[in-house]
Symmetry: C2
């Protein structure tokens, strides 16, 4: 049972055939099923994670990490405390947060919280634009058991044929390009867009446009930190985990709070 839990927790989202356990332990499938039921019970008693079993030829067992409301609250409070550190304030009122995003433990926690918010939307791929969104998008995809796709700022020969769009980046009002390989994003894909930061929402909007250009469907937009202003973003609906209210460069103070409700217009 310990090894069973290890396999499930290490491969969240993946459907592992019962056959795999049966071979590994040289046990009957019925014994494995009983053990799985106990694992499921233990997990659900702790309120952390969900075990789903699927029957049939492609059947097996799948583990989805679902942080409890208490875990979500604690994690977001810890992240807010870290973000309030005055040493994070950079010239221009920017906040240094790359260390949090690129830390595997924090990015995994953020990814699991985002994943839990979007299970109901049933995405089959997570899309982000290079570069800083990648760790969070990868960890969100991991917690949902689906692939991640990186849009790039320039096409590359190693991505094969691609679709490119132009969009107006919010702050500089500059025309930027965004491209994604046709091999990476199928036309019937259900896409969850994930990014680390949103101010006006121009980048997220660019990704929404890129997805529609391909004929695929956006089923959600998940953001780690979104600014309170401008209140009206260039995407209609998004979920953010933390709201950045204000950065006072002179007083060296950053105002952030967990964003507990969805942002809908």
């Amino acid at each position: 049972m310990v090894y069973m839990m290890k396999l499930l927790a290490e491969r969240p989202g993946e459907v592992i055939p019962l056959q795999h356990f049966a071979e590994r332990f040289d046990a009957a499938k019925s014994t494995i099923s009983e053990d799985l039921a106990l694992v499921k019970e233990a997990l659900e008693a702790q309120g952390s994670g969900m075990v789903r079993t699927y029957t049939g030829a492609t059947g097996g067992v799948q583990y989805l990490p679902i942080p409890s409301p208490e875990e979500v609250r604690t994690t977001l409070e810890q992240l807010c405390t870290m973000l309030r550190d005055p040493s994070r304030i950079l010239p221009g009122g920017f906040i240094y947060m790359t260390d949090i995003i690129t830390d595997p433990v924090w990015s995994a926690r953020i990814g699991e919280i985002l994943a839990a918010r979007f299970h109901a939307a049933s995405p089959d791929v997570v899309l982000t634009l290079e570069t800083k969104g990648i760790p969070l998008a990868l960890m969100t995809a991991r917690a949902m058991g689906i692939p991640m796709v990186m849009a790039r700022r320039e096409g590359r020969v190693t991505e094969g044929p691609s679709v490119t769009i132009h969009y107006i980046s919010g702050s500089s009002r500059r025309i930027s390009t965004m491209t994604v390989g046709l091999r990476a994003l199928r036309r019937d894909a259900r896409v969850l867009i994930v990014d680390d930061f949103m101010k006006a929402g121009a980048t997220a909007r660019g990704m929404v446009d890129l997805v529609s250009e391909l004929g695929a469907t956006v089923v959600g937009v998940g953001i780690f930190v979104a600014t309170a202003e401008p209140q009206k973003k260039r995407v209609d609906e998004y979920v953010s985990l933390i709201t950045l209210i204000n950065v006072d460069e002179d007083a060296r103070q950053t105002e952030v709070r967990p964003a507990l409700t969805d942002n809908k217009e």
Copy 2:
């Protein structure tokens, strides 16, 4: 015990205080220690993963996923089979492998294999250059319980003060730049460089130079796929998991094999 394994497997590399388990289960630390011993035994009997306990104020328990030689062999064979698929051949003899790198399950497996190869070198940070190395570097860092740092091609205000070097990129002989934030990489860091692909080794060499410019130390270079030719790379020593021997565009054939020994000059 099931929940214990879940916590450990979900947070590889992280040192989790015994106190955390004691509070969670409302049990004495001695009971927790006994249960941990059983978890350790079960894991080691399966030959997969290592549980380390640390005593003292900062003490606790740490889980390191260590794939068995059998698991490593199977994973690398599966990856080679995928890479041989003729539909991956792109114009110019490039191989499409972005889907593998950005798949959380595959990137986690590759990261665990790389991590296991470098535990002895005791790195305290994993460095990569944007963009395609990021998923593998993040998963390697995760399996070692250390942070990941992304070097960028251009400096950004959100990274704070940075160090920039120029290097000659291998194929195009063009002068490129590479930059890393001073906040991200400390002068006393022990750096493991990870990248998805190596041909001449110019990018890896650029990262080695960037690290020395900062006064930090490179303790290893880990690459997912390295080409057989040129045999002489621009870094002296590296570990690659798969060797790309030849791509025959006309015959639509790709020759790859697991690289089981280290590449030293």
